[in-house]
Symmetry: C2
Subunit: 447 residues, 2 copies
Amino acid sequence: MTPTPENIDLLIEARWIATVDTNQVLKNHAVAVNNGIILAILPVTEARNRYHPTTRKTLNQHILIPGLINLHTHAAMSLMRGIADDLPLMEWLQQHIWPAEAALVSNQFVLDGTRLACAEMLRGGITCFNDMYFFPQAAAQAACEFGMRAAIGITALEFPTNYANDADDYIAKGIAAREACSHNPLISFCLAPHAPYTVSDRSFQRMATLAEQLGLPIHCHIHETKQEIEDSLKQHGQRPLARLSALGMIGPEFIGVHAVHLEDDEIAALAAANCSIAHCPSSNLKLASGFARVAEMQRAGINIGLGTDGAASNNRLDMFWEMRLAALLAKGLSGDASTLPASEVLRMATLNGARALGLEQITGSITPGKSADLCAVSLSESDCMPCFDPISHLVYVAGREKVSHVWIAGQCCLDNNTLLTGSDIHLESSTALWQNRLEVCIGAKST
Amino acid sequence: MTPTPENIDLLIEARWIATVDTNQVLKNHAVAVNNGIILAILPVTEARNRYHPTTRKTLNQHILIPGLINLHTHAAMSLMRGIADDLPLMEWLQQHIWPAEAALVSNQFVLDGTRLACAEMLRGGITCFNDMYFFPQAAAQAACEFGMRAAIGITALEFPTNYANDADDYIAKGIAAREACSHNPLISFCLAPHAPYTVSDRSFQRMATLAEQLGLPIHCHIHETKQEIEDSLKQHGQRPLARLSALGMIGPEFIGVHAVHLEDDEIAALAAANCSIAHCPSSNLKLASGFARVAEMQRAGINIGLGTDGAASNNRLDMFWEMRLAALLAKGLSGDASTLPASEVLRMATLNGARALGLEQITGSITPGKSADLCAVSLSESDCMPCFDPISHLVYVAGREKVSHVWIAGQCCLDNNTLLTGSDIHLESSTALWQNRLEVCIGAKST
């Protein structure tokens, strides 16, 4: 006797599934989803007998992967995409980015900018992003509108902005934003001290204490440039990482962003402390910061995720670019083409990011019991033919434009390349308005 | 009295035009085309009075650029896209690429593979490619079917293949292919000695003589890996470039491919001889060859174009990727974010490539009198917003999927993302057939 099929919300049948909890690729399997949770991964024929889905999606030319996790961004800076390219770092910051931010950043700026970023990220298969910017409640609101998972930064630095007066004020406002979002299961928070050169010892210590009390990750720029290290040696008599370590910041909850300039003993220390790194290869090159020692960090056992950084320094919030670039750079630097293979880079862009954010029980792989945060990538077009290895194609051949479907906690956000969430938001008009204001502010030529 | 408008074939009105013969961007200008030749570039309002076009194309959200020139590829290797990724170079070559080529390469393989490559390149805005492979007549046929401009290699090496027995046989067959194509104005030829480690002194000398007699460029891999240099020192007592120089190969007609490992004096020598370099950044990283010294070569005055290399080592024939990667790497290596700005990288991908191929009177910039080889890129979608500088957006923001239109010698090959040339060729079935044969040949798992 055939048992009665079980009613479920969603069955996704795919030609290939990369679950990421192993490196194996499943062929002609299906993912069964109910109430936003992955129930099972099983052969299509078996799934059709066992389940009666409300929605069935058949993806005959696609690889289904976990939703991508962008481990470092300043989402609202999308409004400053390409505002000042090909300039030296300090000129970029001091003459363009900081004046623009000082003049214009507001709750509405962050809301509109994060909306623009969410649309871009969702279309590119990103289901979760780790954000560091001002007005965190506005960022959280935008993520909610698009149905995205986000880790929002309780950002802090010492100097005043439109958002807050001093580090204590930043922290208080960030904690309040966290409380206001406590009802939303897709929104989590990180303590986000901006960087060693903008945050005092006292504030770092406060944030280390808070991280422990609240059980939150710490998200901080670290060793991005040589200059930052030299300045720290002058001012504090030690390198930034040593200083942060002495202040109690360095532990399993620490996510160090960039980490371009590391000595061997610093890699060993980060590994011993079970830290995570957010590797941002495009940004590291575009701002001429340098080449992160990813292969060495990986060998040491550091958990490495990938981040796009903000659109003012990348200028794409595109995890496909970061995956491919990370793999290529690691090979070029090591002199060994087998360094950082495609499957490992996919893990960085998914499960490793989830682990860094303390979300590995919830997302980052296609595993029964986890949230259905999924991304389907079509490999059907002639520029993806032939296909000998779908994971290799995902990293080296496909671009983000091949992302056809995205689900977050089972909700379909992108359906056959059409955005379903946030679709009532008029990104074009709000972006044009901010562009005009920015051009006035920095005296840019109108395009 | 208003003069009667002049009848012309085509008027393309664009929001922005980057002509590349200057770094200026023209706003709301038009390109007038007749008989495949660019007549004029002028403001849209003026163009509408002056011309009566058979076809008018209005591109309100686009930047029009010269068609991209892929200065180094092995087009037919598209059939081996991703066949053996993440492997050390010698294992890749000896256990995968060479056995597959030995078993399968034929006139039909090259025809089908080059067709697949042409479709990919055209969709990505490439109007001209410099090819090095076997069965050049088949490659030329594929280019003709797609209406593409191509410089086809008179490839030669010493060892026998399915195509030819020895260097003299390769050269004779290449010369015959050139004669057979002499009626096609879009097809030119290069002498293409494969590399210093596969070609003898005698054959190099023959090809240097032929290049001079026939007025052809020379297209040759050079200093791709450290191993190649060490082997040459052992075998010939000199580095490959010195050897080629002594054999009379190094002059304005020489296009050195890769050129990853160069000493200062070698850069100076290449500059002094007015050589060109085909920089292939993706391939150099993916095969772990290293980082080419592009900023130094550029400062020395070497003419540098960009190439994708073949799809077995890249795995995208994507000049947008190469442009962005070249710009990012140059910044990372130099430690200066202003190195290799977007406008310079666009010049590499267009005019510099044309110059290397001896085609600078014909293509490479939007200049009256040149062939109408053009590419339109749409910057309208939200992931390209806002836009402060369209050339910067072209390089750092847009991907090849934003290419909407391509014209070659005035013929529309891609119209609003739809391929018009070669559209009757069944790429899917021919590629599937070769994939099956390749999988049998190398014992690959079926996907």
